[in-house]
Symmetry: C2
Subunit: 344 residues, 2 copies
Amino acid sequence: MLTERQRMILNAIVDDYIRSAEPVGSRSISKRGDVGYSPATIRNEMADLEELGFLEQPHTSAGRIPSHKGYRYYVDHLDPAYSAPPGEIRLLRKFFAEKLSAMEQVIQHAAMILSHMTNYTSILLGPEVFHTSLRHFQLLPLNEETAVAIIVTSTGQVENKTVQLPPDVPVSEIEKVVNLLNSKLMNVPIYKLKTRLYTELGQEMERHISNYEEIMKVLDNIFLDGEADHQRLFLSGTTNMLTQPEFKDVDKVKTILDLLEETPTLTKMMAPQDGGGIQVRIGTENDHEAFANCSLITATYSLEGEALGTIGILGPTRMEYARVMSILNILSKDLTAMLSHWYK
Amino acid sequence: MLTERQRMILNAIVDDYIRSAEPVGSRSISKRGDVGYSPATIRNEMADLEELGFLEQPHTSAGRIPSHKGYRYYVDHLDPAYSAPPGEIRLLRKFFAEKLSAMEQVIQHAAMILSHMTNYTSILLGPEVFHTSLRHFQLLPLNEETAVAIIVTSTGQVENKTVQLPPDVPVSEIEKVVNLLNSKLMNVPIYKLKTRLYTELGQEMERHISNYEEIMKVLDNIFLDGEADHQRLFLSGTTNMLTQPEFKDVDKVKTILDLLEETPTLTKMMAPQDGGGIQVRIGTENDHEAFANCSLITATYSLEGEALGTIGILGPTRMEYARVMSILNILSKDLTAMLSHWYK
DNA sequence: CTTAGCACTCATCTCTTTAGAGTGCTAACG
DNA sequence: CGTTAGCACTCTAAAGAGATGAGTGCTAAG
């Protein structure tokens, strides 16, 4: 039905169009390495393919785009043996094997509810913390002043951080500390590391280690960081942004949505400022430019009196503050109640 | 700092703007029932409020919108006792109490993976079926010809459907059928109801019930419906639609996204046509106009040889068919494998 | 202090013009 | 006879030029 050359050209056009989303001109096909014909020749073939119904012209002086029939032909003649690259498959399987902890499910679920009820975007910061514990700790001196701290968690995640060492700490001392930590803090949940450091190790450290206080500071610093980095972010209702008339410009929405994908930035923004309770950040009070026209309302939930995570609603500055604040208030309390019931 | 009247006007402007997203003019404030002043008076106050920094003008001849300071004032002076309407709170708590079954988590998780890996929107149809079973069945005659069938599931969901009764069925007969169903089909998973109807009840029905065949038809009809309605839909990556240049027009995206919210329509579209395997529906081959520029690629996963659900990717007609088809193929097989392992 | 009236401003919509990409056709070439 | 160069032609997208109208600020009267 189609000549070999026509098939090749059709394939080239579909491929190009899939990549570029722009009508494909004869010149650009001609310039591809795998097609050895001039634009004029391609044009002739394209005219034929159009007549046969495989291509379309959006308008007279545009390039061609595949018609439905063209796509259909392309799909039906795809190499059936084609398989995604092995790296991709490995990734797919790896993600698929992951599981959410019961805790995370609750958070994710809450995110969904929030976005549905408010018609805004909800952002929930949940403590990954809950299902990861310490498997291994290492502190490798790089030189006299700096060392790399390595934390391996029960889920196999490896975190590392470069830290400044206090002056004049002999290697033997460091080894002692590391051994102590590994023996005493093994299997302790990440989020409890910092407190356990003091409650369980304080005395022993004081007895055996010379620079006790300064080393304590270093460790404190390391675990503090681990705590923040391990939080997990759940989003829901991002498309609700689109329904707001102030964001009818796609580019504006895009900058916001892109920022929502940037987990670290978002995590920082969600961090509660001084004290808990409901917090409202209006427009530029969010310290990111893309949120200049947004307001972020957050509330914290907690376990045993300690703030664990944050739930938040992102909307236009023109937001139904009263309603959203009330809903956040209720849900954060319910979450807190549920958690304390759960982990008791 | 602000006079009572200024506060009132500021509040009115913020409220109006929250609702309308349009700059608020003096006239519209004046016309509100709760403000008894003419536009000119309002204008004077508005000029003052602008000077104080609570309001802004997008341009000289537009109405006013609240500034950040204006929102801040509004928020800080919100009635602290305000609480969302009780109906809303009840709804919130109800949703929050819901739980996803293990099965559903897997599906939802798969949806996320798919959208992340493909950068398109993923739609997964999972069998709610798995964790709901029949708790109670009722058939209430309305008159001689019609009756309401009520199905209560183990999760407390209540489904009802109006059905046509065959002529001349005495009430006593109906009662017998209902009793038989309740005694024999109690705790049977919804998805097995239809087959069990025949395997377990066929003979007994035939013996005791006069209009056996016609009543069977009615029941069949009822359970068929329940089966379809109980499938659960998971979406992920809806915002990926935005990154496609063909959908840079917000209105176009909106029609698509709106359709994605319509669960029943979507469920129907995802239904596999004749036979399983990977299916590609290009443009208008999807029987909904809003998807004229979209392609939907679907694959089914199954349990014990029976198709249970569908996983799909929605993207522009200009889609990376080969890659997506390969990924769907792998994931659908992995899902099938996982399920058979799970439910054995 | 409040309100009516009127001139003024500026965004938005529509219409027109312009620039550029890509075609179709014709004629020449190997 | 298939392939290629050249050129006129077409049509969109971008830029510019009025017309429209909502809403203001100011002034003067109530």
